[in-house]
């Protein structure tokens, strides 16, 4: 197990981003929790950790183990874990065999996020999201897979797996859960801050924005249970800027 604890002979340095922290934590955890890994009769990565990985197909590898803040373990399969930038990097660096701590995330929420990843994981194409992230302006274009001119293009279904409906059901959570989900996706995507279509962060923030649109301040405060610390000075500032609208 020592070779896994110290892959490639490097000691992870602490950096500002969470990735190194997660790597270090995962490496340390896998060293102390060697028993966790023994249950799977899988090829031990210790031999492959030295070289650059052509690892076996992700489906054959054991699921990752995420540990929530309340100590509960949540398993996520490797194809699903690929949806998280951070977890993907961990897997590529072979640091993902032991338990991976997910601090500040409750297991219920982690469960939900894992559910989302399991559903979307098989269809996740990181390159497609990359393309979507640098689309032609101004608004993201859903580039369909290469459109053949032989096939009729009168209607191209951008959602062949029915993920949109599933997403809609999934995201109708109560407010506090929605809040947590947004935060967690943020944590899991520590290095991947831009939003892509179908991304959970995008889904969550869009959902919240939809809830906010067209409402009066009182209604919003009621829905989101926000304390009103909005000052008269701020209101004055707002009115001053919008002088075109406010004619007194």
């Amino acid at each position: 197990m020592d070779s896994t604890a110290d892959p490639k002979g490097k000691r992870p340095l602490y950096q500002e981003d969470g990735l190194a922290y997660a790597r270090a934590a995962a490496a340390a955890a896998s060293a102390t929790a060697a028993d966790e890994a023994e249950a799977k009769p899988k090829p031990k990565p210790s031999s492959s950790s030295e070289e650059a990985k052509p690892e076996p197909e992700a489906e054959e590898m054991p699921p990752l183990v995420l540990v929530a803040e309340d100590g509960v373990e949540v398993r996520i399969s490797r194809p699903a874990a690929r949806m998280s930038h951070m977890l993907r990097l961990l897997m590529e660096d072979s640091c993902a065999d032991g338990p991976i701590p997910a601090p500040n995330v409750h297991s219920d929420i982690l469960d939900l996020v894992v559910q989302y990843c399991e559903k979307h994981g098989p269809y996740y194409d990181p390159e497609a999201s990359e393309r979507a992230r640098n689309p032609f302006p101004p608004f993201p274009v859903e580039l369909t897979p290469t459109v053949s001119s032989i096939k009729p293009v009168t209607y191209v279904d951008p959602d062949p797996h029915g993920l949109k409906d599933w997403d809609k059901d999934f995201i109708s959570l109560d407010n506090s859960t929605l809040f947590e989900v947004i935060l967690v996706k943020r944590i899991l995507n520590l290095l991947d801050l831009s939003s892509t279509p179908q991304d959970l962060l995008d889904l969550g923030t869009t959902m919240v924005a939809d809830m906010m649109r067209g409402k009066k301040p009182e209604e919003i405060r009621e829905i989101f249970e926000i304390e009103n610390d909005y000052t008269p000075e701020q209101e004055a500032e707002l009115r001053k800027e919008n002088a075109w609208a406010f004619e007194d």
Binding site: I150, K151, S176, T205, V208, R213, K216, E225, L238, W244
Partner: protein
Amino acid sequence: MASPPVRPWGELQHDLLVAIMSRVGTPDLLSGGAPRACSAWWAAARDPFAWRRVDIRDWTALTSARRAAGTRATSTSVSVQDALAGVLEVAATRADGRMEAVLLPEFADEDHILFLAERSPNLQYFSFPTTCMTYDQFCKAIGKLQSLKGMAVDESLINYDALQHVHQCCPDFVELKVFALYVDDYMASIICDSLPRLKKLEIPNSDMSCAAIIKFLDCLEELEYMDISGYETSAISSTVLHKASRLKVFIWNSKFELGEFKDCSNCGEHSINPLEPCNCIMDHKVMDWLAGPSQAS
């Protein structure tokens, strides 16, 4: 399992709040309830990040948000042009030079575009649907928008002067959308000659001649995305489909439901019954394709 701790929305991190605010839409950000809910949200609504993309097309929504805010403003004393100028002033100030795209309503005029060009020189895209009889202010604005990547304009601006000026001033220009009723070979020539490096072309909801489509496909060598959907009369032939096969995205559905064409551009047959299409369409086999998967067998 213990239920997860409840964390108040008021404490959501600033940049997440800003991400939400950038999805709410300009009317609400300006005078809706969201910026007034609490201090943190007030600050998030003013963050430049939330003002990278400004959509003012729905003027009614903008003014109704204003009315709902309980102002005593009477819309009659302020002209819409002045009101729009006021909105753009706020948007430009809040965006702090980071505005990327702006979509203007139909009554916007060249002065608004010039204003934006001066205040947001890093603008990458704008939509300006207004018919322009003169375009010197427009060209002046283009001269200031060196980062421009694309624009959506009315067909009145499709002329050699304007488009060549765009080509000269904007090295990154790759995307054009045109609001037009009818597109002929001549208009296609103007576009192809002036903007040969276009990658994305959108001319939806117009009737386009077959010659025009083929001109685009032949001359725009770097074209990757083409949207000519929403037409009433089909000009899509098998040649078109063959040439368009090199594109990454080609959107060519008509404005009707599958297969419901009214006229055939090939033989001039009018008011075709979709169940009994004219012979030339059958010969070209276009109707098969257009009818969709249910008739594929």
